[in-house]
């Protein structure tokens, strides 16, 4: 497919409790094969999806959080995180998993995928997309 569009996946829900986060991740993984320009945004309770040290044994759910760390290998290198959503939940960027990618244009240097954004920046980010999928 020659046409390339800007896709933004908006993750708004906690990782467990509902299936939205898991099934959103499945779309991102499948979508990666289509060679589109892909961005992820974590907002509201969605920021909990990438909190580090998740342990799901007690709720007998599959811990799918390691998959986010692999997204860099699928050329998903931009993970926007809402500053306000972190603050409202008493979180900082240090509470998040270190999500990185290897930049092939920069001698495969390891770079941060996480980009903190405020509300205005999120509005601008959405404005520039062709497709916004919210989960």
């Amino acid at each position: 497919m020659s046409e390339s569009k800007k896709f933004l996946y908006v993750n708004r829900k906690a990782p467990y409790g509902t299936v939205y986060a898991l099934e959103s991740l499945e779309v991102v993984l499948i979508g990666a094969a289509f060679e589109q320009d892909v961005q992820l945004l974590f907002v509201d309770d969605g920021v909990f999806q990438i909190v580090k040290g998740q342990d799901t044994k007690g709720i007998e759910m599959k811990n799918f959080s390691p998959t986010y760390s692999a997204l860099g290998d699928y050329e998903v290198t931009k993970m926007y995180v809402s500053k306000e959503s972190l603050e409202e939940r008493g979180l900082t960027v240090d509470d998040l998993m270190p999500l990185t990618y290897e930049d092939e244009d920069d001698d495969w240097a390891e770079k941060d995928s996480i980009i903190l954004v405020n509300k205005d920046e999120i509005a601008a980010l959405m404005e520039e997309q062709d497709v916004v999928l919210s989960f």
Binding site: F7, V19, Y20, V27, I30, G31, Q36, L133, S134
Partner: protein, 130 residues
């Protein structure tokens, strides 16, 4: 304008499928094109022909089937989401060793790539859900 519609919630519990249906109908009446309707998450439950609402209520499933027939709509149910929730056509039921299938007329089961393709091929992708 060319639309792809994504339905993320099941029938009756949520109004999203109703709203998506009304949106699709209105868009078609205005001469727009619906490239595809993609059912995801609990939205796959809109595709079971075993749905039996009370007679004085709308039949969400049949309504989609009828709209699909009338306008030759492409109603696609996500295979992974459908398997989790027990929505199967004859082939899927057989493949997974199930003793019954329940996919309603006008729907087909396929992969998530169909959703991404919808996003690429359409002018707008409209998501209905929580």
């Amino acid at each position: 304008m060319k639309f792809t519609i994504q339905v993320n919630e099941g029938p009756y519990q949520h109004q999203s499928s109703d709203t998506a249906y009304q949106f699709a109908k209105a868009a078609l009446e205005k001469g727009h094109e619906i490239f595809r309707v993609f059912f995801y998450h609990d939205g796959v439950n809109n595709a079971t022909r075993l749905t039996t609402p009370p007679q004085d209520d709308r039949n969400v499933v049949n309504r989609w089937s009828e709209l699909a027939k009338e306008h030759n709509l492409d109603l696609v149910v996500c295979v992974a989401a459908a398997q989790r929730r027990g929505i199967a056509d004859k082939d899927e039921a057989q493949r997974n060793g199930k003793d019954a299938d329940n996919l309603a007329d006008g729907f087909r089961i396929s992969g998530l790539g169909q959703l991404i393709e919808g996003g690429i091929q359409s002018d707008r992708l409209v998501v209905f859900g929580d």
